[in-house]
């Protein structure tokens, strides 16, 4: 029973944190809320019997990826002016249209979900099983994922290097 209660608490935290993350004007604040949300989701993973996924969620998502964000935000050096700009953009009238659309989509999703029955399985799926199927039937997907990561690596290197070469370093040099 405790676990069920834990699930609902985690779910609530995830949702609230996400909403807050989406509405912050300050990028770092938003990022912190997002990390909270990710941690909450990691808790849910753990609760529904996917400990490996929970671990990855914390290590890679909340850890590595979010740190990237932090670095970039730091590099951009947005400051107070950026916050005001954000607040100015977040006027209520902008919300109406998108909110309507999203509500529609959500209702449709609800309609579809409503027909799903039954609880999640009682047995947890171990890292070993995941590993076996990754390098068994899904080996091709793993290869593709590796290619994707390589492409991402090359791409980000290419984009980032120019920024540092021409703009970042020179400017810093001048200063």
């Amino acid at each position: 029973m405790l676990e069920i209660t834990l699930f609902y608490i985690a779910a609530t935290i995830a949702l609230v944190a996400t909403v807050l993350a989406m509405t912050r004007a300050n990028a770092i604040h938003a990022l912190i809320y997002l990390i909270v949300s990710l941690l909450a989701v990691a808790v849910i993973f753990f609760l529904i019997g996917a400990p490996f996924a929970a671990a990855l969620e914390i290590v890679i998502y909340a850890g590595a990826i979010m740190v990237l964000f932090v670095f970039v935000i730091m590099m951009l050096n947005l400051g107070e002016k950026g916050d005001q700009q954000e607040r100015h953009w977040l006027q209520p009238k902008i919300w109406i249209g998108p909110a309507l659309l999203v509500t529609l989509l959500f209702i449709e999703l609800l309609y579809v979900i409503a027909r799903v029955e039954g609880p999640v399985s009682v047995t947890s799926v171990s890292a070993k099983e995941v590993g076996l199927s990754l390098f068994g039937p899904y080996v091709l997907a793993v290869e593709i994922a590796s290619m994707l990561l390589l492409a991402g690596l090359v791409g980000s290197f290419h984009l980032g290097r120019r920024y540092l070469d021409r703009d970042g370093i020179e400017k810093e040099g001048e200063q």
Partner: protein, 104 residues
């Protein structure tokens, strides 16, 4: 460790709510950083749905797909943030409405 009897559709409900919030954020934010964050939320919600479904059937496939999503998210963020830097350099702003050269 024992699993628990959370109804599957509750988890899916959470997942779709997260997705909806992410999408809402995508639509209302102009700052490219927030847009990328919203994308992360959406990807994450999809991952949640996959893992939940995998748990429902007691199969590892859900988590496998989760890992694939993870790689996609990592690559996307890497390239996306690289683009953020470029946008900042070229347009001197992060407002995506200014980067409208694709206007028809």
């Amino acid at each position: 460790m024992e699993g628990l009897n959370v109804p599957l559709n509750h988890i899916l409900l959470v997942s779709s709510l997260l997705f909806a919030i992410g999408m809402l954020g995508l639509m209302i934010r102009r700052n490219i950083i927030f847009i990328l964050m919203s994308l992360e939320v959406m990807l994450n919600s999809a991952a949640l749905a996959f893992v939940a479904a995998g748990a429902h059937w007691g199969q590892p496939d859900g988590q496998v797909v989760f890992m694939l999503i993870l790689t996609v998210a990592a690559a996307e963020v890497a390239v996306g943030l690289g683009l953020v830097l470029q946008v900042q350099k070229r347009f001197k702003t992060l407002d995506m409405d200014h980067a409208n050269r694709m206007r028809g």
